[in-house]
C-alpha cells in the first residue's frame, strides 16, 4: 500500500515518539520500582532509628503518656497503620491500632530499645505496603497518561506540520500534473516552508522556459509545416502526418492523405527498383536520400529531393518513417531543357557527350553489346535550298520523331548531334539485330514519304547510316567509336546513300 507523504510523515513521527516514550516509560518504571525498594528500605531504617531515639527515654522511665504521644505521632506519619511498644518484660506499654491492621499486605518494622547493652523494650510499626504499591501504580499510571497525552499532542502537531507541508506539496503535485496539458496555468499560491517556495519558483521558471521553447518550437513547426515537405508514415507506409507544404505540392488535403498509403503518389515513370532500394535501406534503419518523381492529385508530376529515415518513439522503438523533401521540379525542368534540342525535342549533343561514357560504363557490368548508330539526312543542304529552311526544320522534327518512335527499349537514346546529324545509342543482343534495328529506322524514315527532289538515292528524304557495335569491355574510347561510326557513315554516303554500313 502506498501512503501519501502526509500519512507517512505522521506515522513515522508517531512511531518514533512511541519508541522514544516507551523507552522513557521503561526507564521510568524501573526507576520507580527501584526507588520504591530504596524508599521502603529507607523508610524502614528511618522509622527504626526514629522510634528508638524517641522511645528510649520514655520507655526507660515508663513515661506511658509520652510513649502514647510518640505512638500517636508515628501514626500521623504516612502509611503507618499501627504501632506497639513493649517493656523489657513484654508488658505492652502503648499501642495504637489503625483501621487497616487486618490487611495482609503490611510491612512490620521491629526494633529493640537498648541503652548501654541493657534491653529496655521493643516496638513494632506496621506500614501499609498497599498504599506504597498503590502509589507506584499511581506513578506508573501518571507516566502512561503523560505518554498518551504526549502522543496525542505530538500526533496533532505532526498532523498539523504534515498537513501544511503535504497541502503545499499536493498543490504543487496537482499543478505539475495540470502543467502537462496546459503550460499557461499560473502558479498556485505557496506559502510557508522555504524549500517548497524554492521548489514552486523553480517549477514556475521551468514552466516559463518550457512555454518559451514551446512557442519557439511552434513557430519553427509552423515554418517547417508551411515550407518544408514533410510526411510521416507508419511502418507499412500509411501516412500519419503531412505538412502543409506537402499538401500544397501534392494537391491533396491533409484529410485526404492521412491514413492513405504513400504509394498513391507514385509516378508510373519511376522504376519499381528505386522503391525497393529505398525500402530496403530504411527498413535496415538507414537513411535513404534521392530524387523521386511523384504524381499529384491532378495527375501532373512533380519532382522532390527526399530524405527518408526511420522514426523512433521515446523508448527508441521504430514506429514509422519520416521523409523531408524539397521541390526540385523546376530544377528537373531546367535540367531537361539543358539536355534537349530545342527544335526536335530529343537529346542534344551536350547530353550525348555526358551519356555516351555513362552508357558504356554501365554496360561494362554485363559486358553488353553497345551499338552506336550515326546518321545524316541525305542531301539536306539541297533540301533547304529547294524547300526553304522552315521546311528543313520540319524535316528535322519529323526525322527525330520517327527515330524515337522506332525505339523498342527504355534505355535506347537518340540525339541530335549536329545540323542534320543524329545519333542513337542502344543495346542489342547481337550485331545482326542491331543492324536490323538500324535498317528499320532507315526504312521508317524513307516511309515518311517527305518529298526530296534533290536526293540522289530516293525521291523522298532518306538517311545514310554508320553502325558500330562492340562489347562494352572491348571499347577503347568514345572518340574512337565515334570515329569508326563516322567512317562507316562515309562509306554509306560513298556507296549511294540510304543505306547502313556496320
Amino acid at each position: 500500500m502506498k501512503l501519501s507523504f502526509k500519512y507517512r510523515f505522521i506515522l513515522s513521527f508517531v512511531v518514533l515518539e512511541i519508541i522514544f516514550l516507551s523507552m522513557i516509560a521503561i526507564l521510568n518504571f524501573n526507576s520507580i520500582e527501584k526507588n520504591y525498594d530504596n524508599f521502603i528500605e529507607y523508610k524502614k531504617e528511618s522509622l527504626q532509628a526514629l522510634g528508638k531515639e524517641l522511645l528510649l527515654t520514655p520507655v526507660s522511665s515508663y513515661d506511658t503518656a509520652m510513649i502514647d504521644n510518640i505512638v500517636h505521632t508515628f501514626l500521623q506519619l504516612e502509611n503507618v497503620v499501627s504501632m506497639k511498644v513493649w517493656d523489657s518484660q513484654g508488658v505492652l506499654l502503648s499501642q495504637e491500632i489503625g483501621e487497616l491492621q487486618n490487611q495482609h499486605n503490611l510491612l512490620s518494622i521491629e526494633n529493640d530499645i537498648v541503652l548501654d547493652n541493657v534491653y529496655l523494650g521493643k516496638f513494632s510499626i506496621w506500614i501499609n505496603k498497599d498504599y506504597e504499591e498503590a502509589t507506584i501504580q499511581l506513578n506508573k499510571q501518571r507516566t502512561i497518561l503523560l505518554i498518551i497525552i504526549e502522543i496525542i499532542i505530538s500526533t496533532a502537531l505532526s498532523w498539523l506540520i504534515g498537513h501544511r507541508i503535504a497541502n503545499n506539496l499536493n498543490k504543487l503535485t496537482k499543478y505539475s500534473e495540470q502543467l502537462c496539458t496546459n503550460l499557461n496555468l499560473p502558479l498556485p499560491q505557496i506559502s510557508g516552508d522555504k524549500e517548497l517556495i524554492v521548489l514552486s519558483d523553480t517549477l514556475n521558471q521551468m514552466r516559463e522556459k518550457l512555454l518559451q521553447e514551446k512557442h519557439d518550437v511552434e513557430r519553427y513547426t509552423r515554418i517547417i509545416d508551411q515550407d518544408v515537405i514533410v510526411a510521416k508514415s507508419d511502418l507499412d507506409g500509411n501516412i500519419t502526418y503531412v505538412s502543409q507544404a506537402f499538401c500544397r505540392i501534392s494537391g491533396y488535403t491533409k484529410e485526404e492523405l492521412l491514413g492513405k498509403n504513400l504509394n498513391i503518389l507514385r509516378h508510373p515513370d519511376i522504376p519499381k527498383t528505386l522503391y525497393e532500394d529505398m525500402w530496403n535501406i530504411i527498413k535496415a534503419g538507414k537513411v535513404w536520400s534521392g530524387e523521386i518523381e511523384n504524381r499529384s492529385k491532378d495527375q501532373s508530376s512533380y519532382w522532390i529531393q527526399a530524405t527518408v529515415f526511420p522514426w523512433f518513439d521515446s523508448q527508441n522503438n521504430k514506429i514509422g518513417y519520416m521523409s523531408v523533401s524539397h521541390d526540385i521540379t523546376n530544377k528537373k525542368h531546367i535540367e531537361k531543357i539543358s539536355i534537349t534540342d530545342g527544335l526536335t525535342h530529343i537529346y542534344n549533343r551536350r547530353h550525348f557527350d555526358t551519356m555516351f561514357p555513362k552508357v558504356i560504363n554501365s554496360s561494362k557490368r554485363n559486358n553488353d553489346l553497345v551499338s552506336f548508330l550515326l546518321m545524316d539526312i541525305d542531301h539536306f543542304k539541297q533540301y533547304n535550298d529547294t524547300y526553304g529552311h522552315q521546311m528543313g526544320d520540319e524535316v528535322l522534327i519529323k526525322v527525330a520523331a520517327c527515330i524515337r518512335d522506332s525505339f523498342l527499349r527504355a534505355d535506347d537514346y537518340c540525339f541530335r548531334l549536329g545540323g542534320e546529324e543524329f545519333g542513337v545509342l542502344f543495346k542489342s543482343d547481337t550485331k545482326e539485330k542491331a543492324l536490323q534495328f538500324a535498317n528499320t529506322i532507315r526504312r521508317n524514315i524513307e516511309h515518311l514519304h517527305i518529298k526530296h527532289s534533290g536526293n540522289s538515292a530516293s525521291k523522298y528524304v532518306t538517311v545514310s547510316m554508320g553502325l558500330f557495335c562492340e562489347y562494352a569491355n572491348e571499347i577503347e574510347s568514345t572518340q574512337h567509336i565515334y570515329k569508326l561510326a563516322d567512317d562507316l557513315l562515309y562509306i554509306s554516303k560513298e556507296n549511294g546513300r540510304n543505306q547502313v554500313n556496320a
Binding site: P58, S61, Y62, D63, T64, A65, M66, D68, D87, V91, L92, L93, S94
Partner: protein, 263 residues
Amino acid sequence: MKIFLLVFLLFCSVYAKELILGVVPQQSPLVLHQKWKPLVEELSKMTGLKIVFKTEASIPLFEKALYSGQYDLAYMNPYHFVIANKKLGLQAALRADKMIQGVVVSKNLNRSELFEAQGGRFLFPAPKAFAATLLVKYELKKKYKIDLEQKFKVLYVNSHDSVYKGVARGIGVFGGGIVRTFNNLSDSRAKQSLSIVYRTDTYPSHPIGFHPKVSLEDQKKVQEAFLKIPNNIIEPLNIKKFITTSTSEYDIVKDLALELGIY
C-alpha cells in the same frame, strides 16, 4: 550636662524598677509564657512596676534559680516554698483560692490492699511532685506508718498521665496523682479501669512568695494588684482568684518535709 544625664539615668532606673516573677515549669516554658503574659502585663500596669516573667526548662533548674535568689517573687509548689523559706526567708503572700489533694489510684486493688499489699511498682510522676508524690508518701507514712519505698518499688514516670496509664496497663499496681489531673485524663479506657483507693487531706495550694529584698511597699502593691486582678486574666492559669496567705499556713508542709527527711 553630666548632672542632667545622671539624673535622667537615675530617673529611668527608678521608673524601670524590675521585679522578676519566677514560675515553676509544670508545663512547657512556651505554654507557661503564653498563659502568664496577660497577668504579668496587667500587674505591671496596676503597680507601675516592671514585672518580668521568668521560668526554667526543668524543675531542677527552677529549684536552682529559686534557691539562689534569682527571683524577686515566685510561684512554686508548697514544698519548694518551705525550702526557699528556709534558705532565703521567702515569705508567702498569696495563693490560689483552692486546696490540693493527693490520690492513690489502682486498677484491681482496693484501699485495704494498699495497706497490706507488698511488692509491685508504685508509680509517681516525679520525686518532688508535691501533692501526687509528697502528700501521698507523707500521709501514708504519718497516718498508717507505711513506708512506700520499702513496700513497693517506687517508679517516677514523669507525668501524672503516665502514672494513670501505667497503672491501667499493669506497669504499676498503684499510682499517686491528684484529683484534677485524674479527672482530666483523656485516655478514657485507662480512666474507666482505674479507681481512687485513697485520698489525702486537703492542703493549701501553690503560694506566691516574695524575696525579703523586695521592699514591703512593693510587696504590698503587688499583693493588692493580685487580689484585684480580673478573673478572665487568671482563668488560663486554672485559678479562680487569689487570696492572701501567710508563711505559717505552710507549716504543715514543713512538717511533711521533715517527716519525709527532705527538709
